[in-house]
């Protein structure tokens, strides 16, 4: 049984099976337990669940978990956008999506599996001593949301604001993943803001509301880690906004 939104994404009652090109996710019930199975281009995974009934939630998650988690930062590297002093513009950027499989209820859930159709690549923002490792996203700049395969890509609606008195060329935006909020319906999207103070310093934050009407918020991997370290929504980019 399934409440559909996008292929694969949704809330399922055990037992179930869902398919999309290259992906099969299923949970089969046994006498007292059930078996989770996933097949995707990166391989197969099987896990035994200690119950035979319950909910499984599949939705897009922040793309910083694969192949293993080495960072909490997401870096967009895009075609240069030249901005006038004290100006504001909204652009759209594509980003890779990972697919998270959760078990449990809304306020008490845990991550069962995460996989992706996109190939991950990492980078360094700043210096090796004081910089941060980032999940690197190389992307085009669009005026409107481009068509995407929601199982592989999402769209970031990024509002750039140049608060400085100089013309500035922006090619990079770095976000703290603990602040990422993904929404999904027919597409996957999130909204963010980047305030540029100078060529070297900017501040980024993710907006906690759906970029388009009717989208619902995806469960996040970050809260399942139950870290006591507080979330830090605005991230200060101190190593430049350009190449």
């Amino acid at each position: 049984m399934r409440v559909p939104s996008l292929p694969v994404f949704g809330i399922y009652q055990i037992p179930f099976q869902t398919d999309a090109p290259g992906i099969t996710v299923s949970v089969e019930s046994g006498l007292a337990t059930s078996t989770y199975r996933r097949t995707s281009p990166e391989g197969t995974l099987a896990k035994r669940l200690g119950y035979r009934e319950g909910r499984v939630i599949i939705n897009p998650v922040e793309p910083i978990n694969l192949p293993t988690e080495v960072t909490g930062m997401l870096e967009f590297h895009f075609m240069p956008v030249t901005m006038r002093p004290n100006s504001r513009i909204t652009i759209c950027l594509k980003f890779p999506v990972e697919i998270g499989v959760f078990v449990g209820a809304d306020d008490n859930y845990t991550l069962l599996d995460v996989f992706s159709l996109a190939r991950p690549k990492y980078s360094l923002y700043g210096t090796p001593e004081k910089g941060v490792i980032t999940r690197h996203v190389e992307c085009e700049v669009y005026e409107d949301a481009p068509p995407t395969n929601p199982l592989e890509e999402g769209v970031l609606f990024l509002t750039l604001r140049n608060s400085g008195r100089d013309w500035i060329e922006v090619t990079r935006a770095v976000f703290e993943s603990s602040a990422l909020r993904l929404f999904y319906d027919k597409t996957v999207a999130m909204a963010g803001e980047m305030e540029v103070f100078s060529r070297m310093v900017a501040e980024t934050k993710v907006i906690d509301r759906p970029p388009e009407e009717g989208m619902k918020q995806a469960l996040r991997v970050y809260p399942t880690k139950k870290s006591l370290i507080p979330e830090r929504p605005p991230f200060m980019m101190e190593y430049g906004v350009g190449d």
Partner: protein
């Protein structure tokens, strides 16, 4: 009779009963500290990194024991102001008597404050190389790469050169790959660059670098510089070298053995094949 013996003054006006009360109070404090440590580990272990967890537990345990001792002191009828004076004097005496211990203690405090390394880091200290297990007040425990337990006094660490392999978020490593003179070096470079591009943990920035480094005796040597996240650099290093070797071989790029061309001068009468006359070439 037994109760009277408990009232017997051992030194000054401190009785055996006072000592027992003090010992029980300290014991109870130690037990409470242990229970609190277990509780903290159970409840917070998945929310706080292990290094910070150990540090937090030690601070809380020390605070509990100090409070226990403080609460037990009145059983000695000791004036705390007097004790500070006596304690200070005793401290000086003990310090002179045990300079190495005090030196280790001081070094330990500086190590904890300066934090050139933390538990879990891969380090090289003097002749010891391994993973930091624990930084104690007097010594630091290192588990070598062979799994051997090594206790290094903090004084020694403080005065040694510490190489922390994971203090920075990214680190560089390199390979030297020799290909034959007959192979196309540009093609080989393209193959290696494609492999590096495909690997998720070979960082995009700083970008990897592949170039012809030396024209050596037996091979054209390519140099490969790779930056990777410090947390995974070793696995990337071990994985990529073999991947490069296989990819080059699949594309027909030869990785030669050391070789030397030997030419015998004419007229010496020397040859590897006597049947061919006095001149010849050999590879050895």
């Amino acid at each position: 009779m037994a109760f009277e013996s408990l009232r017997m003054e051992l030194f000054g006006n401190v009785t055996l009963l006072d000592l027992i009360v003090f010992a029980i109070a300290v014991f109870v404090a130690l037990v409470i500290a242990k229970i609190v440590a277990i509780y903290l580990k159970k409840s917070l272990s998945d929310r706080i990194p292990p290094a910070e967890m150990d540090f937090l537990i030690k601070v809380i345990q020390a605070a509990i024991v100090i409070i226990g001792v403080y609460l037990a002191l009145p059983s000695f009828n000791i004036n705390l102001a007097d004790m500070l004076v006596v304690g200070g004097t005793m401290g000086l005496v003990i310090a002179f008597a045990s300079q190495r211990i005090v030196s280790n203690f001081g070094s330990g405090l500086f190590l904890i404050a300066e934090r050139p390394m933390k538990p879990g880091d891969n380090v090289n200290i003097g002749t010891v190389s391994g993973t930091v297990e624990e930084i104690r007040v007097l010594s630091t425990i290192i588990k070598t790469h062979e799994g051997v337990y090594v206790r290094v006094p903090n004084e020694k660490i403080f005065t040694s050169e510490i190489t922390n392999f994971v203090a920075n978020v990214a680190r560089r490593f390199e390979y030297t790959i020799g290909i034959s003179y007959q192979s196309d070096a540009e093609h080989a470079i393209r193959i290696v660059k494609t492999l590096l591009e495909d690997h998720p943990f070979v960082l995009r920035h700083p970008s990897p670098s592949v170039f012809v480094d030396t024209l050596a005796d037996s091979s054209v040597n390519l140099r490969v510089f790779i930056w990777a996240p410090s947390r995974v650099w070793w696995s990337v290093r071990t994985e990529m070298l073999w991947a490069i070797k296989k990819a080059l071989e699949n594309e027909g790029i030869e990785i030669p053995f050391p070789q030397q061309v030997v030419t015998f001068a004419p007229g010496t009468g020397l040859s590897l094949n006597p049947g061919c006359g006095g001149e010849g070439e050999g590879h050895g």
